[in-house]
């Protein structure tokens, strides 16, 4: 299964969460997701970019071009106020979901 199908909603939350501390360029966001989720979300790493652009269009993310530590030109994404509000709401909902999912998985594994 491709990431985009399975995790459309989830990926958005994770991205918003990742850039909520400080603006990051695409590679850094991807690496953070990979490191944080033990590789689960990295079936097709490029799927990250459509999500970034979508969030940018929706106004949940802002973006500007800047320089990395090594001086390369890169597009940095930062969370907007709308993004923060969305993250809040979704995180709450997600906690409920995952609670239910965990309950099911926990109770029925053989």
């Amino acid at each position: 299964m491709s990431g985009s199908d399975l995790f459309t909603g989830t990926l958005d939350i994770l991205i918003l969460r990742t850039v909520s501390a400080s603006p990051l360029h695409g590679y850094a966001i991807g690496k953070a997701l990979r490191d944080g989720s033990e590789g689960v979300l990295s079936v097709e790493e490029g799927a990250l970019y459509p999500a970034l652009h979508r969030l940018e269009r929706k106004g949940l993310l802002g973006a500007e071009w800047g320089r990395t530590e090594t001086g390369r030109r890169a597009k940095f994404y930062r969370i907007t106020a709308a993004g923060v509000a969305h993250l809040d709401a979704e995180a709450t909902r997600w906690a409920e979901y995952s609670g239910a999912v965990t309950a099911i998985l926990g109770r029925t594994s053989r």
Partner: protein, 909 residues
């Protein structure tokens, strides 16, 4: 660069996201990712490639970003294809995890599709495939018949009758007559009996056939009687007897001991309208097989007539016109045309009907209907299989509920999930289709090999052609969608909200209840349909058994028969025939193991019956139509027929002695109701004269000469009368021999005896009489067999369905069962409960099935003998059988439930 040329027309700045920026962004990612990989130890030369691969389809993602996330048409298609590919790959992966499920589902579909493929190719061959003639649009067969008490009783037309039809009809533009004698080929090689056709002018023109080598008959050859002994032969005879030698054209061959010049060879595959002829003679030479004068006799009916409808004429208009012509002829020639008619049929109907060989006109539709019934049974089997697979998918979907709930929760769309499930069933269907076609091809080869002659029209050769493939594919696709829709719908129904509210199990058990209900519906349907099919099979089997139980009036055990035909040229006189007959009988009786032997003009189930009219001294004015048989004295003992009263024909009833006759019981009841017929006189012919009288000296129990099913007392059916062969000789002789031991083993010595008497006299139709008897039931046995196979498979599938649902529910309720065990329920209690569940499940199906069977049984009306369509015995036994199947299906789940260790079951929770 852009694949979308229209974008160049946009003003600068209107482009949403700069192409180069997108590329730069992705390029940076891949560079950094490659560096990361190098740090992890990947060789630098491989790092970049690996980074790109991890990134995914760069071009696709780039394109998607360029369009601001909305996929374009081409891209969308590509993505859908990608998704389809992923769905298929995913389906195959999940199948690998459950090979048992896949095997059952694929086999189920395969068997059903295979059965349908085989039966459809038979239907296709009989009802759709082109007939073996270059053209048959507008071609009709005109059959003369005799109206006997409202039924069309006899076939054939006389030559004058044919000429009248041809001259008077406007709706049939061309007409030709065909006589179908059996001919003897001698001279070049072994004596051989072949099927022949004596054809009138226009015969080959109507059929659109020309000679492959040489020519057909000229007008001059057809015009002058007995002046042009010419013949045309079939391709197959040319290959078989003359090794395909082209010089056979112009050669002289001996046909019925007369020289004929071969003028042509017909194209490959063409064997005349009889579909069996090897030698064709012009009508002008009719006297060779039939004797002279036959073309002038209005009473000599032996011709089949074919014709071509005039432009714009319909078969029904032609039928109306010929009805009128027949009425006119009856007025003009009341003696010979009273009650005569002409039936017009298309070629296909003619052949479908001819194979059944019984009452004219109704048989074609009967044959077709039997085939449709079998095709319908195949479709029902496919429905059952689809229900079975649907059930399997449902049970599986239930087992996968957790996966589905999690995936829904993680954001997978309902459509996406449904598509995934549907893909799974279509992949299953495809696998089933492959298995099905293989099974179908195999089944068809068996069917073709074991289908007895006469079951299908002679032209029908079932093959796997594109039409059959299309049908199988359509059936398969239908089954795949039917089977796949149910679980797809059920899978989508899983409500996450429920799951949240009820904290997990709610979603599973709530949805589960609905889906299980779906499973129950499928099992009920399966049981019902299987029961209906079993009923059909039961009825057909009982019908066959009833036919085989009919008393033929003779003792078939140890009887063997063959036929010889004495040619006019070498046996011109009555004396020649009589002395040959006497000599033949004497030598046959000397063969060791022969207990009795007799001669007659016809034998039961072997055709060659002759019909005529007689009247009696009791009622001179009422002619009775009868079948008459010429028999030698020993016929009674040889056949094992039973004399009811009086005596049988004996040696004393020779030429010169007073003419005698023995009549059948049916004749006695019809012509002499409530009287002793012995001593009465019977006169040949339908006029009320008292010439040609013969005294009734005996009454014989009815012998079934023509078929097993007709009611001998029905007004439309003619009874049998017997005359002495010593008083009326016959050139065509049936030799019946009763032997001790295997009748087939006696055939070589019988052939030797004939060869010793006359080496150029062919022996034909040599076989045990029981074979001819068996051929009578070939078609119903064929239908009953196919139906039994279909319904047997249906029962097995229903069994699998019941088993699936029970096993599933036992598995799901293991905790409940364990608790019950823990509080004191015994193992047998638990097991019995499961069996009860199975029976309850089956009960609804049985009730519905009985209703279906009662309604559906009506399609068998007219196809059954000795059993009604609502036969209670059949229904009861079929219901019992299905109930037993239900119990049997419950045994394994019940055993499993009883065996489960309560402690273990509780601990796993």
């Amino acid at each position: 660069m852009s694949p979308w040329p229209f974008r160049r027309a946009l003003p600068p700045g209107a482009v949403r996201s700069d192409d180069s920026e997108i590329r730069e962004e992705i390029e940076l990612y891949i560079e950094l990712r490659a560096e990361e990989l190098v740090r992890e130890g990947v060789p630098p030369e491989e790092a970049r490639e690996l980074a790109e691969r991890r990134f995914g389809d760069v071009a696709r993602i780039e394109a998607e970003l360029r369009r601001g996330g909305r996929a374009g048409g081409w891209e969308r298609g590509r993505r859908a294809m990608g998704a389809l590919g992923r769905d298929v790959a995913y389906a195959l992966r999940t199948f690998r995890r459950s090979p048992g499920f896949v095997a059952v589902a694929v086999l189920t579909l395969g068997v059903a599709v295979g059965g349908n493929t085989a039966i459809f190719s038979v239907v296709d061959a009989a009802l759709v495939q082109a007939l073996p003639f270059p053209r048959h649009d507008g071609l009709v067969v005109l059959e003369g018949y005799q109206n006997v008490n409202g039924e069309k009783a006899v076939r054939w037309a006389s030559a004058p009758e044919f000429r009248d039809w041809r001259e008077r009809s406007r709706t049939v533009s061309l007409m030709a007559a065909v006589g179908q004698p059996t001919l003897t080929l001698t001279g070049d090689g072994q004596a051989e009996r072949v099927d022949g056709e004596v054809v009138s002018e226009d015969y080959f023109r109507i059929l659109g056939v020309d000679a492959a080598v040489g020519r057909t008959f000229t007008e001059e050859e057809q015009a002058t009687p007995d002046a042009h002994p010419v013949a045309v032969i079939s391709w197959s005879l040319w290959q078989r007897r003359y090794a395909g030698d082209r010089s056979v054209v112009g050669r002289t061959i001996q046909v019925d001991e007369r020289p004929f010049t071969v003028v042509g060879v017909l194209p490959r595959g063409f064997q005349g309208v009889s579909l069996a002829a090897d030698v064709f003679l012009p009508m002008s030479m009719i006297s060779v097989p039939y004797g002279s004068g036959i073309l002038q006799s209005r009473g000599a009916r032996f011709l089949t007539v074919i014709g071509h409808l005039a432009n714009g004429a319909t078969p029904s208009a032609a039928q109306a016109e010929l009805n009128r012509i027949a009425r006119d002829l009856a007025t003009e020639y009341p003696d010979t045309h009273q009650g005569r008619g002409c039936l017009i049929q298309t070629f296909r109907d003619f052949y479908l009907g001819a194979t059944l060989g019984s009452s004219l006109g109704t048989s074609a539709s009967t044959t077709a209907r039997l085939l449709w019934v079998l095709l319908g049974a195949g479709a029902v089997l496919l429905l059952i299989a689809a229900a079975n697979v649907a059930n399997l998918l449902l049970v599986r979907a239930h087992a996968r509920n957790r996966e589905i709930v999690v995936r829904r929760a993680l954001g997978a769309g309902a459509g996406r999930l449904a598509r995934q499930l549907l893909t799974e069933s279509l992949v299953l269907a495809l696998l089933g289709g492959v298995v099905g076609l293989a099974l179908g091809a195999w089944g068809l080869s068996l069917l073709v090999r074991f289908t007895p002659d006469g079951v299908l029209p002679a032209y029908a050769t079932p093959t796997l052609n594109p039409r059959v493939f299309a049908y199988s594919l359509a059936m398969l696709a239908g089954a795949g969608v039917l089977a796949g829709l149910a679980p797809a719908v059920a899978g989508v129904r899983v409500q996450i909200a429920d799951g949240l509210r009820e904290g997990g199990w709610g979603a599973v058990s709530g949805g589960g209840a609905r889906r299980l209900w779906g499973g129950h519906v499928f099992v009920v349907l399966q049981v019902a349909l299987a029961l209906a099919l079993l009923t059909g099979a039961g009825l057909l089997v009982r019908s066959v058994r009833a036919q085989m139980a009919v008393n033929p009036g003779i003792d078939l055990d140890g009887l063997v028969a063959f036929r010889v035909s004495l040619p006019r040229t070498r046996y011109p006189s009555r004396g020649d025939i009589t002395s040959f007959s006497r000599e033949l009988l004497g030598r046959v009786r000397e063969i060791p193991g022969v207990r009795a032997a007799s001669l007659s003009s016809s034998l039961p189930f072997r055709g060659g019956n002759t019909g005529t009219f007689v009247h009696t001294d009791r009622d001179l004015g009422t002619p009775v139509r009868v079948w008459y048989h010429l028999v030698s004295p020993a016929t009674l003992q040889t056949l094992g027929a039973r004399l009811r009263s009086g005596r049988f024909i004996n040696e004393g009833d020779a030429s010169g002695a007073p003419a005698v006759t023995v009549i059948s019981e049916a004749m006695a009841k019809r012509a002499f109701p409530g009287e002793n017929p012995l001593g009465h006189e019977i006169y040949l012919g339908r006029d009320s004269t008292t010439s040609n009288g013969a005294e009734v000296v005996g009454v014989l129990d009815d012998v079934r000469y023509r078929n097993l099913t007709e009611d001998l007392m029905a007004a439309a059916n003619s009874p049998d009368v017997y005359y002495s062969l010593l008083q009326i000789p016959s050139r065509t002789l049936e030799v019946a021999v009763r032997v001790a031991g295997d009748p087939a083993a006696a055939i070589p010595s019988l052939r030797k005896v004939v060869a010793a008497l006359d080496p150029s006299l062919p022996v034909y139709q040599a076989n045990p009489l029981v074979d001819d008897w068996r051929a009578q039931t070939a078609r119903p046995r064929f239908a009953a067999f196919l139906m039994a196979v279909f319904s047997g498979l249906a029962a097995v599938l229903a069994c699998v369905g019941i088993y699936g649902v029970l096993a599933f529910s036992v598995g799901r309720r293991s905790r409940e069962i364990a608790v019950r065990r823990a509080v004191g329920a015994s193992a047998s209690n638990v097991a019995w409960n499961v069996v009860e569940d199975g029976l309850r499940l089956a009960m609804a199906g049985l009730v519905l099935g009985v209703l279906l069977a009662l309604v559906g049984g009506r399609v068998l009306r007219g196809l059954l003998f000795g059993v009604g369509t609502m036969d209670p015995v059949t229904l009861a036994s079929v219901v019992g059988l299905m109930a037993a199947v239900a119990v049997a299906s419950a045994v394994v789940p019940a055993w499993r439930a009883a065996r489960r260790d309560p402690a273990e079951a509780l601990n796993t929770e």
